[in-house]
C-alpha cells in the first residue's frame, strides 16, 4: 500500500516537472539548459559550497525564481544532511562529493520549474516536529502553527483528562500530529480525516515516524455539504467509527478557504504543485466552513470547542451565522490574529 503511494507520488513528481517545463516558454527552456551545463562542467570538481550557492542563487535570480538564496541554501542543507540553513554557512568552504553535486543539480532543476522547496527536499518543520512532504499534499503554512497554539490553550483550560479530538482535512497530518506530540498530561484521542487518500497515507506515514499510532487514527472520509461525514469505502483504518453519532471535545480544521476567483492569482509553486482542492474554498471560500459549522453543532459535546483557520474575510460571517441560528447552540467566542495581524483563527463554543 505504502509502496503504491510512494511510487504514485514519484510518477506524479515527474509528471508535474514535465508539465512545468511545457508551461515554460521556448526561450526559457533554452536558457534553462545552457547555464546548467556551464555550472556543472567547469566547476564540478573545484567549487565549494559557498561558490555553488552563489552560482545557483544567481541562476535562480536570473530566472525569476522566488527566494533564490533561501532556495539553494535549503537544497544544499538537505544535500549535506542538515535541516538548518545556518549550518550551511559553516560548510561554505567544504566541497561536495560528485554524487552530492549531481543530486544537488537535479534538485535545483526542480526549483527552476518552480517546485516548492518543501517538496524538493521532501520535508519541513512544523512546530517541533518534522514532516515528510510529498506533492500534491498541501504544505503546512506557518499560520497553522498558531492554530495548534490555540488548540493547546483550549485543551489546557479544559478539566477533562481524556480529550476526543477530530481534525477535518488533515493533509500531511501537521495539526493533529503536533497536538498529539505535544500534549502529554492528558489522554488525547485524535481522529484525523481527509477526503484525499494521498493525504491520509501521508498522515499515517508521518504518524508512524513520530510513534503516535496509539493517539492518532487516520480515516479516509469526506465532510459533505449537508454537514455529515461520509466514510470512503476503501483503505484500512478503524471502520467502526460512526461519525454521525460520535461526539468530540474539540474539533479543529484548516479547511480550504481561498475563494475560487483568487486561485488564479496564486504563485506557480501553489498552482502547479499543490492539490488545489486542499485550498479552493468555492465562491466565497466558505464551501467547507459552512458544513463544518453544521457538523460541529451536532458532534461537539456541550462545552466543546471548534477551532478554525480561515480567510480574514470569514470571521464576520461566522459570527453572523452563529447568531442567526441559535438552535445550533454554537457561541462565537473569539477571533485571533496571525503574526501578520490578519484575523485568522476563530474559536467557537458549543453551549448546552
Amino acid at each position: 500500500m505504502l509502496f503504491r503511494c510512494l511510487s504514485g507520488a514519484r510518477t506524479f513528481f515527474s509528471v508535474v516537472s514535465a508539465e512545468a517545463c511545457i508551461q515554460c516558454s521556448k526561450s526559457k527552456i533554452i536558457t534553462f539548459n545552457r547555464p546548467t551545463r556551464s555550472v556543472s562542467t567547469t566547476n564540478v570538481q573545484y567549487s565549494t559550497v559557498g561558490e555553488i550557492i552563489e552560482q545557483w542563487s544567481d541562476r535562480f535570480k536570473k530566472e525569476g525564481i522566488p527566494e533564490p538564496v533561501e532556495s539553494i541554501e535549503h537544497i544544499v542543507a538537505h544535500v549535506i544532511g542538515t535541516s538548518k540553513i545556518l549550518d550551511v554557512a559553516n560548510a561554505r568552504n567544504k566541497q561536495l562529493t560528485s554524487d552530492q553535486r549531481d543530486t544537488l543539480d537535479s534538485l535545483c532543476e526542480c526549483r527552476l520549474s518552480r517546485m516548492p522547496v518543501q517538496y524538493i527536499i521532501g520535508e519541513w518543520d512544523f512546530r517541533n516536529i518534522t514532516l515528510k512532504l510529498v506533492p500534491p499534499v498541501f504544505i503546512p503554512r506557518p499560520e497553522s502553527e498558531m492554530l495548534v497554539h490555540y488548540v493547546l490553550k483550549a485543551l489546557n483550560s479544559s478539566e477533562n483528562k481524556g480529550q476526543e479530538i477530530l481534525e477535518v482535512g488533515c493533509g500531511s497530518g501537521a495539526v493533529s500530529l503536533a497536538i498529539a506530540h505535544t500534549v502529554t498530561d492528558k489522554t488525547v484521542n485524535c481522529i484525523a480525516i481527509d477526503s484525499n487518500p494521498d493525504a491520509c497515507e501521508l498522515t499515517k506515514e508521518n504518524r508512524d515516524r513520530l510513534n503516535l499510532q496509539d493517539r492518532v487514527a487516520v480515516v479516509h472520509a469526506t465532510l459533505k455539504d449537508n454537514g455529515s461525514i461520509e466514510l470512503s469505502n476503501i483503505l484500512s483504518g478503524p471502520n467502526d467509527i460512526d461519525f454521525n453519532s460520535k461526539t468530540f471535545d474539540l474539533i479543529v480544521s484548516n479547511p480550504p478557504y481561498v475563494p475560487t476567483k483568487q486561485i488564479s492569482t496564486l504563485t506557480p509553486e501553489i498552482k502547479i504543485y499543490e492539490d488545489l482542492t486542499a485550498l479552493d474554498g468555492g465562491d466565497d471560500g466558505l464551501k467547507v466552513i459552512k458544513p463544518l459549522l453544521k457538523y460541529a453543532a451536532t458532534a461537539l459535546k456541550p462545552g466543546g470547542r471548534l477551532l478554525l483557520e480561515v480567510d480574514p474575510s470569514h470571521p464576520e460571517y461566522i459570527q453572523f451565522f452563529t447568531k442567526k441560528y441559535p438552535v445550533l447552540k454554537l457561541q462565537y467566542e473569539h477571533t485571533y490574529k496571525d503574526f501578520c495581524n490578519n484575523d485568522r483563527f476563530v474559536e467557537i463554543l458549543k453551549i448546552s
Partner: protein
C-alpha cells in the same frame, strides 16, 4: 592538682561544645560544602602568602569583625551589611564565631589566675584560633558564593566585528568557526540563532545548551584582537583589528517576565494575504520590545513558532543583562563579578598570526603557540579556559573582599 583537674574538665567541655556546634553547622550547610569543595580550596588560597599583597589576613579579619559587630548590633549597619546578614547561612556561623571568641576570653581569664597553666592555655588558644579561621573561611565562602551563577543551563553568545572594517568581519567569522569547533570538542549542543553575513561576519548569535556552558565560556567575553596580514591586503602590511564577544547566561523564567502587550511580533510574510494564499520557506521572526525598543530576530528553525520561542529567549537574556546593569546593590555587584562581567571593552586576548601565537592578557604566562590548532581543534582553548577559570576566580574573590572592606570605610 585540683586546679589541673578543673582545667582539663573545662577543656573537655569546650571541646564538646565545639564539636556539637560544628556538627550542627555542617549539617546545615552540607549542601553548600559538597557543591563547593573546589571553592573552599580557593578560599584557603586567599590566606596564602601569594595573595597577601592584595588583601592581608588583617584586612579579612577586620572585615569579619565588622560584620560580627554589626550582627551583635554594636554599630550601625550599612545597606550592604544587612544584605549579607540576611543570607540564611550567615547568622549561625557568626554565632559560632562569637562562641569561640568567648571561649578564648574565658581561657585567658583562667590563665591569668594560674601562672602554671599559661602554657597549656596558649596551646588551647591556638586550637581555638584554628577553629576560628575555619569558621571565618566558611563565612567568606558564603558571601563569595552568593550570586554564583555557574549553574546556568544555557548561554547566549554573540560575536560581532569591532574596529578594522572588512578584516574585523573576517576575524569575527574565524572566531565563530573557532567556537563551533570548541562546542563540538566539548560535546555542547548549540544553535545559531542569528547570522548576518556580508563578506565576513556582521553578527552571530548562538544558543548553547549545557549545564557546563557558562563555566566553559564566561571568560570569552571581551575584545579579541587580531594581528595579521589580511587576505585582502596587497601590500603585505600587518593590520590590527578586533572582534567583540559577549557571553550571557540565559535567565530563568523567574528572573524575567515578559508581557504580551509589550511585544510586537512580526514575520517577513507580513506583506500580502498570508495563510493558504502563500507558500514560502521564510520563517524568520522579529520581535520588538516596546518599552525598551529592543529588537531581536531569529531565523534558525524552519518552523516560525520555534523561531518565535528562540527570539523570546534571546530577548529575555538581553533584558536580564540590562536589569543587572541597573541594579547597583552590593550583592548584585558580587553577582556581576561572579558572572565574569568586566569592562565590555577590555582587550582580553591577542591573536598574532605572523608569530603563530596568542596571548591572553588576563593571566601571567598567557601566551600559547600553534594558533591554527588553537582555532581549529578546541582542546587548547579548553586548557586556556580552565586556566582562566582558576585564575580569574581567585582574582574575583579578592576583588569581592576588597569591595566588602570598602563598605566598612
Amino acid at each position: 592538682m585540683f586546679s589541673l583537674k578543673e582545667c582539663s574538665f573545662n577543656i573537655c567541655q569546650y571541646y564538646r561544645n565545639f564539636t556539637i556546634t560544628s556538627k550542627l553547622f555542617e549539617s546545615r550547610c552540607s549542601v553548600l560544602f559538597n557543591l563547593n569543595k573546589e571553592v573552599n580550596l580557593s578560599v584557603q588560597q586567599l590566606f596564602c602568602s601569594k595573595v597577601n599583597s592584595l588583601v592581608t589576613d588583617e584586612n579579612v579579619k577586620k572585615c569579619l569583625n565588622h560584620l560580627m559587630n554589626a550582627y551583635q548590633g554594636n554599630n550601625e549597619k550599612g545597606a550592604s551589611i544587612s544584605e549579607i546578614l540576611k543570607l540564611s547561612e550567615i547568622p549561625p556561623l557568626l554565632n559560632d564565631k562569637i562562641k569561640i571568641i568567648e571561649n578564648i576570653k574565658s581561657l585567658n581569664d583562667f590563665a591569668c589566675e594560674n601562672e602554671e597553666m599559661k602554657d597549656l592555655a596558649k596551646e588551647e588558644e591556638s586550637t581555638y584560633m584554628q577553629q576560628m579561621s575555619l569558621v571565618d573561611e566558611k563565612i567568606l565562602d558564603v558571601i563569595l558564593q552568593y550570586g554564583s551563577v555557574d549553574n546556568y543551563d544555557n548561554v547566549i553568545m554573540e560575536i560581532a566585528p569591532g574596529v578594522g572594517g572588512q578584516e574585523a568581519m573576517l576575524f569575527a567569522k574565524d572566531l565563530l568557526a573557532m567556537y563551533i569547533s570548541y562546542f563540538e570538542h566539548l560535546g555542547f549542543t548549540y544553535e545559531i540563532l542569528e547570522l548576518l553575513e556580508s563578506s565576513g561576519l556582521r553578527k552571530a548569535t548562538l544558543l548553547i545548551t549545557d549545564s557546563n556552558a557558562f563555566k566553559k565560556l564566561k571568560y570569552e567575553s571581551g575584545v579579541h584582537r587580531v594581528q595579521r596580514i589580511p587576505a585582502t591586503e596587497k601590500s603585505g602590511r600587518i593590520h590590527t583589528s578586533t572582534a567583540v564577544v559577549s557571553v550571557l547566561p540565559e535567565p530563568r523564567d523567574v528572573d524575567i517576565k515578559l508581557e504580551e502587550k509589550d511585544l510586537i511580533i512580526e514575520s517577513k510574510r507580513a506583506s500580502g494575504a498570508g495563510g493558504q494564499h502563500v507558500n514560502t520557506t521564510d520563517s524568520a521572526i522579529r520581535i520588538t520590545h516596546v518599552p525598551t525598543g529592543k529588537i531581536v530576530t531569529c531565523q534558525t528553525s524552519r518552523s516560525q513558532i520555534e523561531n518565535r520561542k528562540l527570539a523570546l529567549r534571546k530577548l529575555k537574556t538581553i533584558l536580564f543583562e540590562e536589569q543587572l546593569d541597573k541594579q547597583i546593590s552590593f550583592i548584585n555587584k558580587i553577582r556581576k563579578k561572579q558572572m565574569g562581567q568586566r569592562l565590555r571593552n577590555e582587550k582580553i586576548r591577542t591573536y598574532n598570526f605572523n608569530q603563530d601565537r596568542l596571548t591572553d592578557h588576563r593571566i601571567p604566562n598567557g601566551t600559547m603557540y600553534n594558533l591554527k590548532e588553537f582555532m581549529e581543534k578546541g582542546e587548547a582553548l579548553e586548557v586556556l579556559e580552565d586556566r582562566l577559570h582558576k585564575d580569574m576566580q581567585l582574582k574575583t574573590r579578592l576583588e569581592i573582599i576588597e569591595e566588602i572592606i570598602n563598605q566598612f570605610k
